[in-house]
């Protein structure tokens, strides 16, 4: 019993540590050895929102909007495609393998052309630009996931609906979503988390308007030194959401990777 607690602790130490560090006052931060028992303070959390130079609120807003829009469009665009692949059995031969192979390519390869073309299209430092880039990566992920989740829909219901003369679009809107709603939400969350955590393109394509949380956190490392309290507070806020969301989707993750077979 102790062993498992130890393992859990080891894997969560960085997270626990950053929470503790964010609550330490400036004096406690630099004490040696670092205090385990101290009086917590929320000044760092206040600072990052009110500080004129860091504008953490804006980072939060950017990350949130980009992640939200990306995930929404990802689902809207891939759900019909997943349905089509499964129930018409057409695109399976080409689309799925191509899409899965895409994930083995380092994204940096696309950094150059995207940067240059976005420069021509004035999409640098815009949220729209980042959304497009994230979509390019999110769509394959959500397609694979949805195809996986849709496989649990019994074919008979679809056949019955078709015989009753329902148009395919009706089936898509009225029948499928209620049956796989939790899977759709899970895919949405996974896309959201991916977009939320994305770093490389946020780094390349943002200057000051569309800086996201991931890039913004690095801004606390200045030439004059690292603001440990503030950066910890920023990281805590940025990672608390994925942390909480994990509890919701862990069931779906197992389902996705075990091919639907549970005990």
């Amino acid at each position: 019993m102790v062993f498992i607690i130890l393992i859990i602790l080891v894997f969560n130490i960085p997270f626990l540590n950053v929470i503790i560090t964010s609550l330490k006052s400036k004096v406690d931060l630099i004490s040696y050895p670092p205090k385990i028992i101290f009086k917590p303070t929320f000044e760092h959390f206040e600072n990052i929102f009110t500080s004129g130079t860091f504008r953490f609120g804006k980072f939060l807003y950017n990350s949130f909007v980009i992640a939200l829009v990306t995930s929404l469009f990802s689902i809207i665009l891939t759900l019909p495609a997943a349905y089509y692949i499964l129930f018409f059995r057409k695109g399976k031969r080409f689309l799925l393998p191509m899409v899965t192979n895409l994930r083995s390519i380092p994204l940096i390869i696309f950094a150059m052309p995207i940067y240059l073309s976005f420069k021509q299209l004035s999409l640098i430092d815009t949220r729209l630009g980042l959304i497009i880039v994230h979509l390019l990566v999110d769509i394959p992920i959500s397609l694979v996931l949805l195809v996986n989740f849709l496989q649990s829909v019994p074919k008979e219901i679809i056949e019955a609906a078709r015989i009753d003369g329902a148009a395919e679009s009706k089936i898509l809107i009225k029948i499928i979503p209620p049956m796989v709603s939790s899977s759709i939400v899970a895919t949405f969350i996974l896309c959201f988390i991916y977009s939320w955590n994305e770093f490389l393109f946020a780094l390349i394509l943002s200057i000051k308007n569309t800086t996201t949380l991931t890039v913004g956190a690095t801004l606390f490392i200045t030439a004059w030194g690292v603001q440990w309290g503030e950066i910890s507070a920023a990281i805590v806020i940025s990672t608390i959401i994925p942390f909480v969301l994990t509890f919701y989707i862990q069931k779906h993750l197992i389902e996705a990777y075990s091919g639907g077979l549970k005990e």
Partner: protein, 304 residues
């Protein structure tokens, strides 16, 4: 009789047309995005190839000159590029091995003792959900010489002063951090695979008198081996193109010491501004990865 046949064929033809039109409409409604994504990717690749033949500097397309293959020759003969390839390879291999073994062990442990315990499972899963760059920063805070818990307490209890980011041991620090974050990923896949083994197999084996160890070797491992291998391959590919974590921790290391291929290409393209060079490097990397993946796939499909 011919009249009836004709009437029937007319009826069928109408149905046929309706179905054809329906298929056409559905195709259009459903697939445009896929074409958009694939078309976009093809465009990007062609554009990259185009750029790689010019000496584009800092996003300046208009003033770039055609330089033929010199970008490619430059990269292929550049020490920095191959060093980063070596580093990426070394890093990916070490990390994948550690994570696969540890991930499987932990998954097996939970499977035997805490199967179905959602809280424990989720708490072990959390590192993979966090942003790699933020996770890197978290560890920087943890292992930093000034405010980090670990170096301070090591110093306090043992009197030794470990600098985790010292060029000599920074590789191991980076490995440690990657293992901490991604072992749960292998664990997730292994655990799911373990859950997928039908109970009857275990029961039958126990009835036949097999002990736990024998069951592990002869039943469990064969059942999940394909999942574990898939997880290992996924991790390897991901670790090879590592960027976020290492970049925020060392920025590519003192000089180019800890630059993975992605970091190297990024620095060439965006810090130095040689975007033609970076494109060429990217394409070379792309070809290498396609070749490796293709051969790996062939190997896997032949085994099964």
């Amino acid at each position: 009789m011919p009249i009836i046949r004709d009437k029937f064929s007319l009826l069928f033809k109408k149905e046929e047309d309706k179905i054809k039109r329906k298929k056409f409409k559905n195709f259009f409604l459903i697939f445009p995005l896929e074409l958009f994504v694939i078309g976009g990717l093809i465009f990007l690749i062609i554009f990259t190839i185009y750029i790689s033949f010019f000496n584009v500097r800092f996003g300046n397309l208009h003033e770039a000159n055609f330089v033929g293959f010199s970008n490619y020759i430059n990269i292929l003969s550049s020490e920095g590029f191959w060093n980063s390839m070596k580093f990426s390879l070394k890093f990916a291999i070490v990390v994948t091995l550690l994570e696969t073994v540890l991930g499987f062990l932990i998954a097996y442990y939970i499977f035997s003792k805490f199967k179905g315990n959602k809280i424990i499972f989720t708490l072990l899963l959390t590192p993979i959900m966090m942003a790699p760059s933020l996770y890197g920063l978290m560890n920087r805070i943890l292992l930093n010489n000034f405010v980090g818990f670990i170096p301070s307490y090591i110093n306090y209890f043992f009197g030794i002063n470990i600098d985790f980011f010292n060029p000599d041991i920074v590789f191991y620090t980076l490995v440690l951090i990657d293992v901490l974050q991604w072992t749960p990923f292998v664990m997730l896949i292994a655990y799911s695979a373990l859950l997928g083994i039908p109970k009857q197999v275990f029961e039958a084996a126990r009835i036949d008198g097999a002990n736990s160890f024998k069951i592990l070797i002869n039943i469990t491992i064969p059942y999940i081996s394909s999942s574990i291998i898939a997880a290992a391959i996924l991790r390897f590919l991901e670790a090879f193109r590592s960027f976020d974590t290492i970049y925020v921790l060392t920025g590519g290391g003192p000089g180019d010491l800890t630059s993975t291929v992605s970091i190297y290409i990024y620095k060439v393209g965006f810090h130095l501004g040689y975007q033609g060079l970076a494109s060429a490097a990217g394409l070379i990397l792309f070809t290498i990865m396609i070749v490796i993946t293709f051969n790996a796939m062939k190997l896997i499909y032949r085994r099964w």
